[in-house]
Structures are given as C-alpha cells and as structure tokens.
C-alpha cells in the first residue's frame, strides 16, 4: 500500500512517498528495520532578572533522525536538511552504520496516518502577543518583591513550545502528534542575618496560554518568596535516620528515583536494575500502587504518541506493592517479545529513543494527611522536594529537600535548611507506612538520562517513610 496524501494537512513536514523511499533506503544494506522521526519545533521564551526583562528569544529546531536496526546493532544519523536528497543521504549513513552488506530492494507499506491527541489546546501560544507573555514576568516580579523587604532578587522565566512530530517505520507505523507546552518559573533570593536563602516555584502543562487563566503567576511568586523568607530562620537539617513525611504533590520525584528508573526495561535488560527478576514479587509496601501514564490530559509528561510512533498509554507498574510490569520501548519489547508501552522517548530528532517515564505517580491511600503528621513523634516534614538521582544497579538514590520542617510531638515546627536525603529504593518503598487520601500532581520536571532531557510529571498523596537518612549537619 502506498499513501499519496500529504502527511499533514498543515503543510511542510514530509510527503509520504518520500518517507517510504527513505525507509527503503534505510533497509538497503540488509537491516530488518528502519525508522524516520521528523521534528519541527518553534519556541518562545522570555526571562526577567534583576527587575528587567532581559530578552525575548525565538527558536526554531527542525530536522530528522533516521534509525536502522540490523540484529543487535542500531545505526543512527540525523540531519537538519529535510530535502529528499538530505533525508536519503542520512538514511544511507544510518544504514551503513548498522551493517555493511547488500540487503536488496525493499518496499515500505505505510499504514494510514494516525493521530492520538491527548490534549485540547484552547489558546495557541503563537496567537498570544509577546507583550502579554512579558507582562506575566513583570507581574511575578512585582508580587514577589511586595512580600517583604528581605527579598533582594527575583528572576522569572516564561517558555512555550509547539513541537510537531511525525514518526514512520518499515513495519508500517505512521503517526503524528502536535505537542504544546507552556511553562512558567520564578526564583527569589532573600537575605537576612544568617546569609541568603532561595525560594522557587514552577508551573508547566501540555496546554496553551489558557494555563494562566487557571493559575495565577502572582500567587506562585508569593509562594516562592515566602519559601525564601521562611528559610531565613531555618536551622541546619538533622544528620541521621528519621521518619519523613512528604506533602502531597511535592515528592513524586521520590518514586521517579526510588523505582521509576529501575523499571525501565533497557536498564533491566542489561542487569543494571535492582528490580531485575522481581516481576510478580512484593517490591513495595502493599499501600503502593505506581502508575506511569502518558495519557493524562494536560499534564507535563503527557504525549499523544511516544517518539517511536506508539500511542501513549496508562501502565500499572506496581499494584498493591507487587511488581506488575516494566516500561518498554521498541528495541527492548522486540528483544523480549513484549508489547511496547508508549515509553520510547527522545530529546530531539538528533537523539536515539530509549525507555523513559511520562507521568509517574502513586495513587491515593486512605489516611487523612493531618493524621499522618500527628502520628509522627519526631521527624521531618518535606513541603517541597528538589531534584534527585539514582544508581539503578544498587538502588541507592538521593533527592533534595528545598522546603522542609521539623515534626515534633506530631506537629510541624521549625524550618530546616536544604539538604539531600538518601535511601535505597527497595528499602524505602517497603518503609512507606502511611499513605494519604489527598493525591496531587507535582511541579513540571525535566528528567535526564544518558545526556538527554525529556519533560516528565509526577505525583503522590501525602505519605510517610518510616525511616530515611537526612543529610544535614545537626546532631
């Protein structure tokens, strides 16, 4: 079957017959699989610092990545030249990289183009005047500074992107997606007798400028400012092992690091995950059900299709503490005779796809969040987590707490200075002993793996970990 219709009703990505030729060229050295990923991304960003809008930036990234698989070997080439000649040259390079040999002539039959939109974008950011975007920055700046004279510096950033992708492969897959993301962040510095402290908040969704109808940048800026002000009074965090209560929607990164990465099939397949060989076993407290869901409309990690053209889906990874599945991409699923799970993602056309998370979260428990704090004699309450990282093979992971308090006699008391927490994934998952009923998604995240960053979301209800090591300096 040959598709003659243009790929997209919106002009300018690539014609289907050119794609079929490129895919055939990819298999010309005997490879059994070829794929083309085409991206056209426009972005606008604006930054404010020190009271001034520093600049507005317009960006355009456009190109194609061609992947060819022969046995266990992948050849890859990318190009920003989207002419037929440029694409064929890249396909030839990828094919040569995958295998030296003669594979003869292949005919590629593409299925009809499929789209799997997960979001409705009401206000396309490209239709919004730049002045309106810049005005958000100025409002956030003024709001943060209005809180307290101790706020000495504010920076704010706005960003939107409109990414059109098209993926086709020699198995006939032919999919397209339009991905819109809108982001806002604010960070402040406060100064006091004991030096400087910082506050931060961010907001990001896969929707358009309507984001700001539903969220107030001034409130965000005030939250960030208050966080910095509170921390001026903070005392050093404890050193050693204590119970840790993590506020709803602030600590999904814990699961992202404690088990998310370890459930990526590429790491499992190389024996580089502490969760290898654990399918069907109890790997977490029975309270824990962990889901990765690329279909969550509007969420930061939502995608219509993954970057291998597979529709995004909802995958239950841990159910009532039992490991039920890993996350899969094309290569791993093919090798282990499994189905793709919509987790094959890449940073851009210039990168190879690999197994990545989308929106990863723990579902609700039954406890009232206030009761969880009350049930904790002495511990730490984390109101906002920062980033984290994990060694998937040993399971050891860290994450930073950027806003945290002591819990004394069941009450939240004094603020604590920043520090990392450290734990071992399987142990921490088993040590979750209380799970709240107040589920919320968290801040937009950017997950790095093998040098590539992709947008991810996370979420969880308020929960308690029986014991974790807090990396502060106080005895």
């Amino acid at each position: 079957m040959t598709i003659n219709a243009p790929v997209s009703t919106q002009a300018n990505l690539i014609e289907a017959d050119v794609i079929a030729k490129v895919l055939a060229k990819g298999r010309s050295t005997g490879a059994e699989f070829s794929e083309i990923y085409i991206e056209d991304k426009r972005s606008t960003s604006a930054g404010l610092d020190d009271g001034k809008v520093e600049q507005v930036t317009s960006g355009r990234d456009r190109g194609a990545g061609i992947r060819v698989v022969a046995g266990e070997t992948t050849g890859f080439a990318h190009t920003s030249d989207l002419s037929e000649r440029g694409l064929l040259a890249a396909a030839e390079a990828a094919a040569a990289a995958a295998r030296q040999g003669d594979g003869g002539v292949h005919k590629i039959a593409l299925q009809p183009l499929l789209r799997h939109p997960v979001n409705n974008v009401r206000i396309a950011p490209s239709d919004v005047p730049k002045a309106s975007k810049v005005a958000l920055l100025e409002r956030a700046n003024a709001a943060a500074r209005s809180i307290d004279g101790a706020i000495v510096q504010v920076s704010a950033g706005y960003g939107d992107s409109y990414k059109r992708i098209l993926v086709a492969n020699s198995d006939g897959v032919f999919s397209a997606d339009d991905q819109v993301r809108t982001l806002f962040r604010v960070s402040v510095v406060a100064t006091g007798d004991a030096g400087m402290q910082t506050g931060y908040d961010s907001l990001g969704h896969t929707i358009g400028f309507e984001l700001f109808d539903e969220n107030d940048v001034e409130e965000m800026a005030i939250r960030a400012a208050k966080q910095a002000i509170v921390k001026l009074q903070a005392r050093p965090a404890p050193s050693g092992s204590l119970p840790v209560v993590i506020k709803q929607g602030s600590g999904g990164v814990l699961f992202h690091e404690a088990c998310g990465h370890g459930l990526e099939a590429d790491l499992v397949g190389k024996g580089a995950s502490v969760y290898r060989g654990k399918m069907g076993e109890l790997v977490a407290s029975p309270l824990v059900t962990l889901i990765d869901d690329g279909t969550m409309s509007g969420e930061w990690g939502a995608i219509g299709i993954d970057d291998e053209g597979h529709p995004s889906q909802r995958n239950v990874l841990i159910e009532n503490g039992i490991l039920t599945d890993y996350m899969w991409d094309f290569l791993r699923a093919r090798k282990e005779n499994r189905r793709q799970s919509g987790n094959g993602r890449r940073q851009s056309y210039a990168d190879l796809p690999m197994v990545r998370m989308t929106n990863t979260f723990v579902t609700n428990g039954t406890e009232n969040p206030d009761d969880i704090v009350r049930a904790t004699e002495h511990g730490v309450y984390v109101a906002k987590l920062g980033g984290g990282s994990v060694d998937t093979a040993s399971g050891d992971f860290v994450f930073g707490m950027v806003e945290a308090y002591l819990i004394e006699n069941g009450e939240i008391t004094e603020p604590l200075r920043e520090s990392n927490l450290i734990g071992n994934g399987p142990q921490v998952l088993k040590d979750i002993d209380l799970l709240g009923n107040d589920f919320a998604m968290g801040n937009p995240g950017m997950c790095g793996k093998d040098g590539q960053g992709v947008p991810v979301g996370d979420g969880q209800p308020t929960l308690r970990v029986k014991a974790m090591t807090i990396g502060g300096t106080a005895a």
Binding site: N420, T469, G471, T473
Partner: protein, 454 residues
C-alpha cells in the same frame, strides 16, 4: 580560534559578516554560527549496540537597540531561515526592558594565545578502528575481574567550527575536534550489584590509555561490593580527583561577576578577604593547553586569559563578561560562556585549576587517622545551593582508619557549607588529572564534614 591562523573558517565567517552588515543606524548586531559533527559508538557484549553519525549547524542572532535586547536562533543555515531569525531577533527587541549596561563586547587589545585545537590524525581516524578500540576497552575491562560486567563501552568524537561577528568589531572563527572513550561497569556479588565508570581522553585515539580506564572502572565497582551504611559522625573527607572537579564546578557560580552584582553570591562583599585555607590558590586558565576546555577565545570572541581568583586563600577577583563588567565598572576577563548557537552569552569559569600540592593520593590517605575516601557523590544538583552555600550530597567510598583504607561504605551523605569547606581544606594532592570537565581534578582533603548514615 584566531582568524589569522590556518584554523579560520571562511564560509562561516562570511555568513556572520553578511548578517552584521545589515545593521541599521543605532542597532548593534551579533551573529554566531556553528557547525559540527559527531560519531558515537557503543559496544555491548562484543557487538556494536549503536553507531551514531550526525551533523548539525545553526545560527543565533542578537540585536540591541536603545538598551533593549532581542534574540532568535534556528538549527539550520538556510538563507531563508537566517533572514527569519534576523527578523525575529529585531522583533523581539521591543519587549526587553532598557538596560544601560546592555551591549556587545568590544575588542580590548588582549592578544590570543595560540593553541592547537585540530588534530588531523583524529579527523582521519577510520570508523573500523573506532569500533575495534571500543570493543577492546570492553574486553580489557571484563578481563580485570570475573565479578565485573560491562554495561556499556563508548567511543565519542566530535568536531566543530564556529564564527562570530559583531557591529562592534569582533570578528573570529575557528575549528576544533576532540575524542574520548568511556566505560560503565557493574560488579556482582550474590544479590548485590555495584557500579563503576571510567574514561580516557586524548587529542587523538592514539593518546588513550585503555588499560588504565579498564582498571579504574573495574576497581570502582568491585571496591564497593559488601559496602555498608556507615554511622553518622563528623569526619575528614578525602575527595577523589573526579569529585574535587565536581566540587570546583559548584564553586564556579559563586565567582561569577554577574551573580555577584545581582546579589547571588556569598562572596559579594569578600574581595580581598581570606575565604579559603592559605594553601588554596585557584586559577581559571583556559590558555593552558592541557585543560580539556582550553580555548583561545571566550563566548563573545574576546581572548581567553589566565585569571587568579583566589590566591593563598585570599579572594582576588571575579570572572566577567563584557555585560557583567559594565554592570560592575570593571573589564571583561574573557569569561563569557555560550551554550551553542541557541543561547546568548553568560558568565562562567572556563578551566578551573587548584594549584597542586606535592603528595600522592596514597600519601594523603596515610596522613588521615579517621576519615572517609569519597569515590562518588550523587545529587550535587539537588542538595547543594551555591547561593546559601548549603552543601549536602549522597556519597560512596571507603573508610580510612589510622592512615589505611578500610571497609567500603555507601548510602550516606556528606554535608557542610561551601564557605566552611574552603576554610577546612587541610591538604591538596599533586595528582593532577585533566578530566573532561571545566575543572581539573586532584585529591583534596577537607576536615570537619558531617557524614550521615545510620
């Protein structure tokens, strides 16, 4: 990347010259273009897992008018796209706030120090040889210890050409290439798995030391087998060169003149004061050809230079771009940074180096009664705040007792503040390691750090 040398790139220079020539009265324009290519080979279990061969190019244009700045970029050098980028940058000017310090760099008469950035041998290196040395590295690593597996063995090389021009008279172009190999290891003992890594860099593959990289990667992983979680206490840490390099990288933002002028550095009012142990002299020297990030020009096209930031413990200066220099009434120190055509210049250290001591790592460890040798840190981005100075990272390594390396330890943190750690440095190694990083590695001994474990 002097345009007077054979390194110049005439066709890219012509593109930026053409853009700059379109400047209208009262308008400053800077055009920056780059073009590059990469090869990446990954080997797993004796076979090529992937082979990447790719090229990319792009342009970024900055327009400044009446103190307002606009910027745009595109990942292509098509003439149509360049025209669109220029129009977008001009359009974006209207939305900036006037800033009396906004502007482009101006030639300052500082001479570039010529260096060699292009290696013909690397440029001509055959694909088959790249693959065979990646396989060789995997094989050597596996041969080090029967408990070791290789997660991936990699060869990476890249070449790049850049050109920049401004209406203020900057006009530079140049090219360079580089390569390195890296290997990630897993070591198993029963249910337990630990990880290691290593790499080797060189102007050309001929300079790689594969056996050394294999040995290190195997040792890093096997050394940690059987590691326990240590008790919490105050102790002395011995930072491995790689960890020291990361520690210096965190310090970089506190020495950045723009951060200082915007109230984001705890060093802001400390010029001329003792901020570190008197043994500490810290320089930023991209003119040293041994540094991995050596360069002859900075991100704005000014000559790179050697700057002494801390001398015998006393804070001497901050690094500046032309913008931060105007803000602070100083001169550019040749420290503009740029993350490619998609960004505008920032400020940063380019090639940090601590003046080395004389002792080997082994001798330094012998001098520690009770401490921990830190082989890896985790979470520098999440537990270190260079504005407040709070420092807390995950770590793994080996306990030191009475000057001897004892049992392996993991799943603990080390914490202090950056301000205190600089003052608490008690010894500096002579074991310089030119790592692929903006900061050179050597062993560093720091006292009075809190270790949190059990």
């Amino acid at each position: 990347m002097s345009n007077s040398s054979s390194n110049s790139v005439p066709d890219l220079q012509a593109i930026v010259d053409r853009v700059v020539a379109t400047a209208k009265t009262g308008e400053q324009i800077e055009a920056y273009v780059s073009r590059g290519g990469e090869t990446a080979v990954r080997v797993y279990e004796g076979e090529v897992e992937h082979f990447v061969s790719a090229q990319s190019e792009g342009i970024g244009i900055r327009v400044i008018k009446n103190g307002r700045t606009g910027f745009a970029y595109a990942g292509t050098l098509d003439a149509d796209a360049i025209a669109e980028v220029l129009a977008d940058a001009r359009d974006n000017v209207a939305f900036g706030t006037p800033d009396e310090y906004a502007g482009l760099a101006e030639p300052d008469g500082v001479a570039q120090i010529p260096q060699k950035f292009w290696d013909d041998e690397l440029a001509a290196y055959a694909t088959a040889d790249k693959i065979s040395l990646t396989k060789e590295l995997e094989k050597l690593t596996l041969g080090m210890d029967s408990r070791v597996r290789v997660e991936e063995s990699n060869y990476d090389d890249g070449w790049g050409e850049v050109a920049v021009a401004t209406t203020t008279g900057i006009r530079e172009s140049g090219r360079g290439n580089s390569c390195y190999v890296s290997v990630s290891t897993l070591a198993d003992d029963g249910d337990e798995t630990q990880t290691g890594f290593s790499f080797s860099v060189g102007d050309s593959p001929k300079e790689f030391n594969l056996p050394k990289a294999a040995r290190e990667a195997a040792d890093r992983a096997t050394r940690l087998l059987g590691a326990v979680k240590p008790p919490s206490k105050r102790t002395t840490v011995v930072l491995d060169p790689y960890v020291t390099s990361q520690f210096l990288g965190v310090l970089s933002s506190t020495l950045n003149g723009e951060n200082v002028s915007k109230g984001r550095s705890f060093f802001a009012d400390k010029l001329g004061e003792t901020v570190a142990d008197p043994r500490i002299t810290l320089v930023d020297d991209p003119t040293n050809p041994l540094a991995y990030t050596a360069t002859d020009i900075d991100g704005e096209g000014l000559a790179a230079r050697r700057n002494v930031l801390i001398e015998n413990g006393v804070l001497k200066m901050f690094v500046q771009s032309s913008y931060s220099a105007r803000r602070t009434g100083t001169k550019s120190t040749g420290n503009a940074t740029r993350g490619g055509f998609g960004g505008t210049p920032g400020v940063g250290c380019l090639a940090m180096q601590l003046q080395p001591g004389t002792k080997s790592q082994e001798e330094l460890i012998k001098g520690v009664d009770d401490g921990v040798w830190i082989q890896m840190v985790q979470g520098l981005h999440s537990g270190v705040n260079p504005i407040s100075g709070d420092f807390s990272t995950g770590a793994s390594g080996m306990m030191i007792r009475n000057g001897a390396v004892a049992e392996p330890v993991r799943e603990f943190t080390i914490a202090s503040t950056l301000q205190r750690m600089l003052l608490d440095i008690v010894a500096i190694g002579g074991d310089i390691d030119w790592l692929p990083s903006r900061a050179v590695g050597l062993t560093l001994v720091i006292s009075d750090v809190t270790m949190s474990g059990q």
